[in-house]
Amino acid sequence: MSNFEIVTREDFSDVTYLLEVRHPLMAKAAKPGQFVIVMLSEQGERIPLTIADFDRAKGTITLVIQAVGKTTRQMQKECAVGTSLYAMVGPMGVPSSISHAKKVICVGGGLGVAPIYPQARAFKEAGAYVIGVVGFRNKGLVFWEDKFRAVCDEYIICTDDGSAGIKGLVTAGVTQAIDKHHDIDEVVAIGPLIMMKGCCDTTRPYAIKTMVSLNPLMVDGTGMCGGCRVKIGNHVKFACVDGPDFDGHQVDFHDLIMRLRRYTKEERIAMDHWEESCRLQKSIDRKVDSATSA
């Protein structure tokens, strides 16, 4: 079960990229809402990524990644087709329960756009009326429109600058859908914490069940370290084994947002360290080049 080979890569923009990784057993086991933990190299960090899609016939799973820091940028640079990840373990977490809701809104923003897709598809397959709401900064960043349209009865794109779809945050799209339909049973939201919080605040007055997928920092992903603990109502839960999906109206978002900042300084150091080593490598390469060509 080693050799996690990358078989496809696609770049959606200069910050978002897709990797399709071979792992037949995982493709067979994966369900919507689950995630993997990946290590790029032996020295690397273990980072959680949602399984954005899986192909049982091909034996692959798909990850859609936003380059935000050291590891995700290094992967953007190094993960070419034919290379392998050092480690990939999963599928982790409790699968999303695809309820018997008849009408749902699936909301995805930023790094949540890809992972909301398998949920939308699963709801569609379960016979629900699916309204997709996705948010991007601008038109250039939009991806998977065809895929979404194929599984959504209605599809609303929101952009910060109005260059595609409606202008505004995804909450504007959610409000628009709620105004139009008075019989929404459930909202599922995945994306940055602040976006999921916004969605919960939007649906709370209507008392519409709202599920969110939480992304605290993780180490092992097997319930062993407690680093991923979140406050749900009066309980402490470990997102990796008790989640990652929780009832959004119960989540203490403030607490979680504070905790995500824990390693800001070290993330910066790791980034600088890596950039420095890239620069050194470049200058060595240049010297070698000039030496060999001379």
Partner: protein
């Protein structure tokens, strides 16, 4: 035994206790009285023939000593280092009644290390049968079970969720107590027995235990996934930044190598003042790792007294030497916020000891109005663990009311063909107990498969069964597969 100087070692991750040289071992072996009734053996959870191996050391037959040890204990280098000997073998030693007990653990370690250096392995002649055995979890319980099943001729695969095998030995116990090289050497020996390791495999989620039996062709499965799930205190401020479990601190530092950050990517920012709550082995490890990562002050906060501290005596002593400040009879009531979401200290209350409770230890009760604050920017909880929930979530295994796997005296679970042992059955215990459980389960698994148990000592217990001499019966190889 020679040790690194406390002031120097508190800054490095080299092993603290340097181990015996051959002369030291010979000298120490002289002290054993070879007691006929062998009280020490009854103190060892796996019943090692202690006077036997010590006698071999005394004869300078180190290889012979190794053979005796590995008859019962697969991992002498590991147990010799980290067994709580004072409660086990050495606690029962006759010499200990008047003098220092015979240093059984150190002798055991000496023999184990000698074997690693010399590259000795005791690989018996293995006649392969066609049974496939799956082991879930590569901690001491899983390793011990794997070894016994491989020796019996089974095709054994160990599945491990992490990217490296070893369980707590790898991610929890730091290098200065148990170097990785020792664990890796023992794992290599298992591979020589034919055991296969599949890391990055989360059993339960990637495939279930039921699937291992029904689809993947395993004839029997052993579950040794450890306890894991750390307990938080449940006091105000638990989720502030700078509050974490000892498991997280240790995993970041040992397995993910945060101590080499930024050459390794995983960080573990160290506080100036670190308060560790608890006084078990995990707490000692967390404190001593913090010192090595550059903490200026490390406090140990424990609600009972020194006498009740569950850590190995040697670890407590080492932690004291290295400058940990102990605060006995002190209980945390809140973590204090610096106003920015970070911990800045911990509020505690003094305790006094009352009447003994169910565990026989005197129950600590808070002294009214005795609240006081510690300044600390890193707060580590080392107050125990609960059962890991993944097996329960993903299989029909019957659990007990605390969430641990329910197993009978032969370690069979509620699922046919599935056995379990180690921390996931008993709750957090010791390495040698986990190994003992792994071996006990292996014996049951062999019986379940109907293969001859070459590890059963002749003449143990009943001599005859159904009128047939047991020695004879043991030579009959029953084949059902």
């Amino acid at each position: 035994m020679r040790e690194q100087d406390p002031l120097i070692r508190a800054k490095n991750f080299e092993e603290v206790a340097c181990g015996y040289l051959a002369d030291d071992a010979l000298l120490e072996s002289e002290r054993c009285l070879m007691c006929p009734d062998q009280p020490c053996v009854s103190g060892c959870p796996v019943g090692i023939n202690i006077p036997g191996f010590i006698a071999k050391i005394n004869e300078k037959d180190f290889r012979g000593a190794y053979d005796i040890l590995t008859d019962t204990n697969l991992l002498p280098s590991i147990c010799g280092r980290i067994c709580p000997q004072e409660n086990q073998c050495e606690g029962k030693c006759t010499v200990g009644e008047s003098l220092e007990p015979v240093a059984i653990g150190r002798l055991e370690r000496f023999v184990g290390d000698t074997a690693i250096k010399a590259g000795w392995v005791n690989i018996p002649y293995i006649e392969a049968n066609r049974f496939k055995v799956g082991i879930v979890g590569s901690g001491p319980a899983g390793m011990a079970c794997a070894a016994d099943m491989a020796k019996a001729g089974c095709d054994v695969t160990v599945f491990e969720a992490f990217h490296q095998a070893g369980g707590v030995l790898k991610y929890g116990i730091p290098d200065f107590r148990l170097p990785n090289a020792v664990i890796d050497a023992e794992i290599e020996n298992l591979k020589k027995l034919g055991v296969k390791f599949e890391c990055n495999t989360l059993v339960g989620r990637l495939f279930t235990i039921e699937q291992m039996i029904t689809e993947m062709g395993f004839d029997t499965v052993f579950v040794g996934v450890g306890a894991g799930y750390p307990t938080m205190l449940g006091i105000p401020g638990d989720s502030l930044n700078g509050v974490l479990s000892a498991n997280e601190l240790l995993t970041r530092c040992n397995l993910m190598r945060a101590r080499d950050f930024p050459n390794y990517d995983t960080p573990q920012p160290m506080g100036k003042r670190v308060a560790v709550v608890g006084a078990g082995n995990t707490a000692m490890d967390a404190m001593r790792v913090s010192l090595r990562l550059g903490a200026e002050k490390v406090y140990c906060i424990y609600r009972r007294s020194h006498k009740e501290a569950p850590a190995r005596a040697e670890e407590l002593h080492h932690a004291e030497q290295e400058g940990v400040e102990f605060h006995w009879l002190t209980n945390p009531v809140a973590v204090l916020n610096d106003g920015d979401g970070n911990a800045k200290g911990i509020r505690c209350v003094r305790m006094e000891l009352g009447e003994p409770d169910e565990s026989g230890r005197r129950r600590p009760i808070p002294v009214e109005g005795s609240e006081f604050d510690f300044e600390a920017d890193l707060i580590v909880y080392a107050i125990g663990t609960n059962a890991n929930p993944i097996m329960g979530q993903t299989s029909k295994l019957r659990l007990n009311k605390w969430g641990y796997i329910d197993a009978d005296s032969g370690l069979a679970t509620s699922l046919a063909g599935v056995f379990a042992g180690g921390d996931i059955v008993t709750g957090a215990a010791t390495v040698i107990e986990a190994m003992g459980a792994g071996r006990k389960a292996a014996a049951s698994m062999k019986a379940y498969l109907g293969i001859r148990d070459s590890n059963l000592a002749y003449g143990q217990g009943e001599e005859k069964q159904f009128g047939i001499d047991l020695c004879e019966r043991n030579f009959v190889r029953v084949r059902v597969a």
